[in-house]
Symmetry: C2
Subunit: 596 residues, 2 copies
């Protein structure tokens, strides 16, 4: 099953919803003209479709494997990674001074989507490397930047994030790995890290592990965690590789999905101590790690969208080809199953959710560019706040919806979907990690409630809702059945979201258990309403284009129909979610532990 990047939709979102022309005017973003961006995305689409996508199923069938501390990756991965790095795709959003392309996040984001549509297991090595680059750019010394960033961007080396330990899954306060200062500016690192994505592999010459650990006098809890660079091979002043460091992969996991991506258990310091250097200041490691994590969380949201798009394309191809049973309205003989209304419903659901999540994420990427590059500080700050509100939604909702989309993808295939050969089942297996790693949906939801809603008394959420209301007013200007339906559901959805924001702001301090009992539902509601808002905006643009007789009329009509579907099928769930959040805590919390 091939992958064809949905460039038309991507460019529509980039240009019409995420306002590339505005981003293009920001200082440092002058190169990202609409024409250049289109060319970049076309080139990326070609690489992802031709080189990376064909390795998705083969990598799943013949995963990476461990032997004697080494990991051999799936056939073709090494060469594809070489091609990826040589073409500059690792560096799309990174600074030109270290060899990157220096393009806005709004341009990198569709590239990341395409890579993940092509092959999530492959894309992970770049995702983690992006995170390492971000952390070094923010907190690394000038010398560390010079030494490490360029080889990470040109793909000579890759990066990892070492957070989790056996006793500390999501709870970084429980990190035990020790960092003992050696008096020469280096530290010796001792401990075990688990679930380290691409913690060991054969695709690059060196691996730069970014590791959370505690110095001997560090305070307990999250305030005593520092961040260290621990390279697999020591790096000389001239960038040359030196001795093997004392960090070793003792095993990799046997997983449900993303099998080609090696998930390592790393042992630090079993032979005298792994040599590490501090990033930034001691005890500020969590702060720096959050930089990586926020970038990575957005990236995992894109994985969900990429996977959903791939699953959708595969289901559409099957549904057009598979002939089975007569039409419910009668037909001479059996018809292609895409003609059956329930198959149609599943395909529309897959499509609508994917398009909505894509629009929300790209809009978020544009906000991030404004937050980083706008000359006006107040504008930067305002956009940063909205972007940060959206990050847990983009991560949590896009991945939750990708599970549903992958599930529907199997279902469209019927019995063939359950046979591994078909490939639909792989998406169902791969999707399941996305709602877990880089913080489960519940952790995203805690962030949404605590840092993103309660802390500012709901101000940012209300500011976003005011924008939704403005869109509702625009919808009212188009008088037809589609726009009436979209408006009516968006109005109900935004009212539900506003009621929930008020509930969260009012009750979190007094009754945290009740509010957090509905936190994931709040995240889902926010995803549905804000995704529905983007679909409504898309429909308005599409209507304008149609009225102006511009462009591809079938595309714009489909966009309006898809927005209509999203409204009647997704936004219509909003009030039920509101009820479950506002009135549903009693049922969640009533039982004693012994009653389970």
């Amino acid at each position: 099953m091939t992958y064809n990047a949905p460039l038309k939709d991507m460019l529509f979102v980039v240009n019409e919803l995420a306002n590339l022309s505005e981003i293009n005017q920001l200082p440092g973003c002058e190169d990202a003209t609409p024409d250049t961006v289109e060319a970049v995305l076309e080139e990326n689409a070609k690489f992802c479709g031709e080189v990376v996508a064909p390795l998705n199923q083969s990598g799943d069938k013949e995963p990476s494997y461990w032997h004697d501390g080494q990991v051999t990756t799936s056939k073709g991965f090494k060469e594809a990674f070489r091609g990826f790095a040589d073409a500059g795709w690792q560096g799309v959003q990174h600074p030109a001074e270290f060899g990157g392309q220096g393009l806005p996040k709004l341009v990198a984001t569709p590239c990341i989507e395409m890579l993940n549509s092509a092959n999530i297991a492959f894309a992970l090595v770049g995702l983690l490397t992006d995170g390492a680059i971000e952390a070094l750019l923010t907190a690394g010394s000038a010398e560390q930047k010079t030494r490490f960033i360029e080889p990470l961007i040109n793909g000579k080396w890759t990066g990892t994030m070492n957070l989790t330990e056996p006793q500390a899954g999501s709870d970084l306060a429980a990190v035990r790995t020790r960092a003992v200062p050696q008096g020469d500016g280096t530290y010796k690192i001792f401990g075990t890290k688990i679930f380290i994505t691409y913690g060991e592999h054969d695709m690059a010459e060196n691996i730069i592990h970014l590791v959370l650990a505690r110095t001997p006098d560090a305070p307990p809890g999250v305030k005593g965690i520092s961040l260290f660079i621990v390279p697999k091979f020591m790096v000389g002043d001239d960038g040359s590789l030196g001795e093997r460091n004392d960090v070793h992969c003792v095993s990799i996991e046997h997983k449900l999905g993303i099998k080609a991506s090696p998930t390592a258990v790393l042992q630090f310091g079993d032979h005298g101590g792994a040599i590490g250097t501090l990033v930034g200041e001691e005890n500020r490691g969590l702060e720096y790690m959050f930089i990586m994590m926020n970038a990575a969380r957005f990236g995992v949201g894109m994985q969900g969208i990429g996977l959903a798009e791939r699953a959708y394309q595969q289901a559409v191809a099957f549904a057009k080809e598979r002939v089975q049973s007569r039409a419910v309205e009668g037909s001479a003989g059996p018809v292609a199953i895409i003609h059956h209304p329930d198959v149609r419903r599943m395909l529309m659901s897959m499509r609508a959710q994917t398009e909505a999540a894509r629009a929300l994420a790209y809009v978020g990427a544009g906000l991030s560019d404004l937050a980083h590059s706008h000359p006006d500080e107040a504008t930067r700050k305002a956009n940063l706040a909205v972007y940060e509100y959206l990050v847990p939604v983009i991560k949590g909702w896009s991945t939750e919806m990708s599970e549903n989309v992958a599930r529907d993808g199997v279902q469209v295939h019927g019995g063939m979907g359950f046979i591994e050969e078909t490939g639909a089942a792989q998406h169902y297996r791969d999707a399941k990690i996305l709602t877990i790693y880089e913080g489960t949906t519940a952790i995203q939801a805690n962030d949404l409630v605590g840092r993103k809603t309660v802390r500012d008394g709901g101000a940012v959420a209300k500011a976003i809702l005011a924008q939704v209301r403005a869109t509702e007013a625009q919808l009212a200007e188009v008088r037809d059945a589609d726009f009436t339906a979209i408006r009516s559901q968006l109005v109900a959805g935004s009212a539900a979201l506003e009621a929930v924001v008020d509930y969260v702001v009012t009750n979190t301090k007094a009754d945290p258990r009740a509010v957090f009992a509905g936190s994931v539902l709040y995240l889902k509601l926010a995803g549905i309403v804000l995704g529905g808002w983007q679909m409504a905006r898309a429909a308005i643009v599409a209507r304008q284009k149609l009225d102006a007789g511009a462009g591809d009329a079938a595309f714009y009509r489909a966009k309006i129909a898809t927005a209509r579907f999203f409204a009647d099928h997704m936004l219509a769930q909003a009030d039920g979610l509101r009820h479950a959040i506002v009135d549903g805590a009693a049922g969640v919390l009533a039982l004693d532990v012994e009653q389970f």
Copy 2:
């Protein structure tokens, strides 16, 4: 991970909701006294927990495999099947005259649930054999019954259903397998059947294939299909095994889940023709097969419930054990994750849906007993109609919810859930077949719309809704927050279901595509409302028991809390579903095929 049958809840449902005491008074059901039933279920629980459950994960790790036309099943399956059959578990619901226990379906149903909680892949051999027995009991000749049924009940032999062919998945009109009469009362069978569960294995001496095929002069389509017995080994008049028949397993599938269960491709007649004998009359095969299929559909619904229970138990055990992060309301140190509100919400969702689906299914089993054994014909007919309305709901909704429950089970485990060793991921993989085989959810939904709702103008649906209303009136008599909430959501839910029934009855003929665009959503709505109804009934009984000071107060309080959860989280979705059904077809059907 062990399995402990939820006998307390099972007996509560059997006695209080499905009215065992009433069933016990039916002719032929006199042995099924509450005490006997309790003893039977306890014994079955012991067997399933001790013998079958431990083979679940090992069977997944080392699936059955094919070699030279033979299939070797997973380690321990053969011995466990011997124990299963010897203890009489295959025969629970089958007639005593053929060696069965002759117990009501209401008693067999919890046994089937337990077997499936223990091991779905193992349970399938019995499920299919049940289907073969049902078909032979209904349509077989006296001679066929004598020859075949007893060995199927005592487990010397097993049975299969051969429907699907490569070009005919769900569409039996497309069946091409040929049956050529030989003039001696036998037929030679030629063709290929796929997806044949336990179509070849080493657990019994013989396999009795029930095969759909066409005789030479048969009319086209579903009216030209006949049903044949094709044994793997020919069976002599005295029941002794004769020559190997010309039916051969050419391969088995590599599947997403239920890996221990061999899914065979069977080739009939490649070496001169497989010898078969007609069951019943020519061209009535589909009718007979529907008998098997209806029993099997109910059985697959029970698989969903069994799997959900197992996934729930595993998630609860992990959540009680795993210590991680402080409590949201503050705590001295990290707490067991069952204390975290979102984990609690997932566990309650798993529990509430499982209990509701169990209650609905067992009540359905009781209606089936009334439909078969009540002395009054009108009562039999009325109960049969309600049972038949429920079958697609029990199959479709219980399996759809089992996917969600298995998904939440992985999520509760966090990163550990994605590691196959943990076992949670197996449920997620296994669950995916349940919404597909024995008719996808869409096919169940077509049945619910067409045969079960439109055909009688919604009369049965309305009769059920009248019973729901009676429960609503009872709920109003208890004045506390839980019952007020349950009643309010049930009232809204039944109103939504009634509106949808009216919509379906009014519009199916004039606009079938619009109605079928919402058919699966109608099925889900029916499941939620009728499951919620059973939870409400359970809460009323629990309240009465508590008021009377009878029995296990913690159990009854948990039942009320679980009903409350179901109301606020599941029933609250009803109106959104109604909207998507009644107003959502435009979005589903707007696109041309080329726009996908």
